[in-house]
Symmetry: C2
Subunit: 110 residues, 2 copies
Amino acid sequence: MAISKKTEFTNKEQHIATVAKALSHPARIAILKALAMRGTCICGEIVEVLPLAQSTVSQHLKELKEAGLVTGEVEGTRSCYCIDWDVLGKAWALLRSLVEELETSRKKCC
Amino acid sequence: MAISKKTEFTNKEQHIATVAKALSHPARIAILKALAMRGTCICGEIVEVLPLAQSTVSQHLKELKEAGLVTGEVEGTRSCYCIDWDVLGKAWALLRSLVEELETSRKKCC
DNA sequence: ACTTTTAATCGTATATCTACGATATTAGAT
DNA sequence: ATCTAATATCGTAGATATACGATTAAAAGT
């Protein structure tokens, strides 16, 4: 691929892309739903709900965590995951601002 | 990778993931902005604005087209691309419904 | 101390993405 | 008819993503 050109775009464009990427797999959407519904947020419960192996779920959780949408705390032998509602809100605002920006600059098309 | 398990999730989850995937590269965000700002929407103009080769831009445009966010019409030797505002609106609604769904089922976390 | 439970990480195979140059295609210009 | 310009597509290389089983690590239970 030569080298990624991602860094040549604006920070905001990169940030939006990062958020979108975190949401770009149905498993991660499902994980977010499961996390929202349960106060408990324990990893094992999520594994039970999804049609994926434990290691795969762990990987998806890691990606959500790296994107900042989710936090994880160790609780003894278990891991408790939660949605970071603050970050989610900001991510949402970012997406909204993109759509608004598109709408406001909207010109008639060919 | 064995085989993709994407189809084992709900249609809505898959749909949201598809939209998010289309937005998951900063180049495609930039393309959407460029399309929104210009009534003309000609491929060559987009290539000029982006730090990418013509073939790469063409590929990104194809992905946006496959996701339905953009339409493309041949105009002689040129190609005229436009944002499909209807599809974009629906995609937006889909994302919003996800966030709303998350918010409504929001439980206190550990 | 030993075993069990829970989750993370490693190793790995395959798929998909990203990027480019080269080539093909097709309409317009000469 | 030939040449030029604009795009799309092909081929390809390397990066990243997706999925799993196996292994590791660490706390809890016996």
